[in-house]
Symmetry: C2
Subunit: 236 residues, 2 copies
């Protein structure tokens, strides 16, 4: 009754929790794209992918199709798959859309959240704080950890929003944002205190100050775009 017994000996998925090779391949490729290991625009040839991820063509094809659905991969009929391109324009557009949706979800979440929600939220913030501390001392191997906990915190903020569809939309946009964050912020910005931003949003949410929390969250979302714009389009 091993958790991965579903998969024959010699081809266990490398990803914990994966119950099939498709899911394992999907998770790994997804990680490598968010990571930048598979660079934007890269042609994804099946021979290369088979060698790298050790699964068959059909399995890869299914994993890639899933990533196309998340706009992390693009496909052109009979011409294969590519890692989705990135651009500052796209990130600006993405950020606006994400603000619209995440702020509305946060508003509803604060209005509906109960004590249990607060508990989970405080816990997520705590775990995020811990990894932020360690990351500040310069430990780049914690990058994955940070992103996971950052995601958990932001998800926890809107967890009490009763709209499944709003949360679904948010998930799509958040993942895209995560990609831009990871691709661009390998070098972190000294002028920014992310922890303080998170703390401010948390406090406003716990105080049930809807307008303040939403304003802070919107500013928080905007911040990465502003820093990136400054770096890649410096008018000075």
């Amino acid at each position: 009754m091993d958790k991965n017994s579903a998969v024959a000996a010699g081809r266990q998925p490398k990803v914990v929790g994966a119950r099939s090779l498709v899911e394992a391949a999907y998770a790994t490729i997804r990680h490598d794209i968010l990571d930048g290991t598979l660079a934007p625009g890269l042609k994804l040839r099946f021979e290369m992918l088979r060698e790298r991820y050790g699964v068959g063509a059909s399995t890869l094809r299914e994993a890639l199709t899933r990533l196309v659905g998340e706009s992390l991969v693009t496909s052109e009929e009979q011409r294969g798959f590519r890692v989705a391109e990135v651009s500052l324009d796209d990130f600006a557009d993405l950020t606006r859309a994400r603000k619209l949706i995440e702020v509305e979800a946060l508003r509803q979440s604060i209005l509906h959240g109960d004590d249990a929600w607060e508990g989970v939220l405080v816990g997520a913030f705590h775990r995020l704080s811990k990894v932020e501390e360690k990351l500040a001392t310069g430990a780049p191997e914690l990058r994955d950890d940070f992103e996971e906990r950052n995601r958990d915190f932001h998800y926890a903020l809107i967890a009490a929003c009763p709209s499944r569809w709003l949360k679904h939309m948010h998930g799509i946009l958040f993942q895209q944002s995560e990609r831009y964050r990871r691709l661009s912020l390998a070098a972190k910005d000294e002028s920014r205190d992310v922890h303080a931003e998170h703390k401010a949003v948390l406090d406003a949410a716990l105080a049930r100050d809807v307008d303040l929390a939403c304003r802070l969250e919107a500013e928080h979302i905007d911040k990465t775009l502003q820093l990136l714009s400054r770096r890649f389009a410096p008018k000075t």
Copy 2:
């Protein structure tokens, strides 16, 4: 250089414009789900699907994965695929989310739209009107036509919105709405003049009356939900 020469003799895709069997299968299954031909909750067994759509398991799997990405199909690891369930609650949630996004997209579209946009919009409205007329005389075989032109009209309304992501989100939600509309409104409601609703939105958009257009569009989106709620949860 036939348009479908990509596919071997004996297995041409049944769908015009499809350049691969995966795409043809995807389009056909998608249609059958929106249609209700494949009922909500139905278990999608590969043997049944292979017989019905005439393609191999891997091909089907890829088509279904694509539909999972659009939330028209659900999947559980090692337990196959099912047609996504429907519920009044889900439709209510969906409608609220769609209002948020479609109204914002419409607002931006009206602000950015130029003469070319107006032209396409007026054309789409005209084509929609024509099929509405014919449909009113009772011609149920025009259902597909109506849905296509209705979709074209709504897409044309927001076409000038500069945000790709907002339009992407809208597309997902609109498709879901289309499913509910088709599943429930086979019997059309006499008390509703859809044509008048569309005309009112069009006029407000052309008059660049942003607030009015958005209000009318929101009411238009709400209307189907209201009628459905009344029918399936009648308190009288």
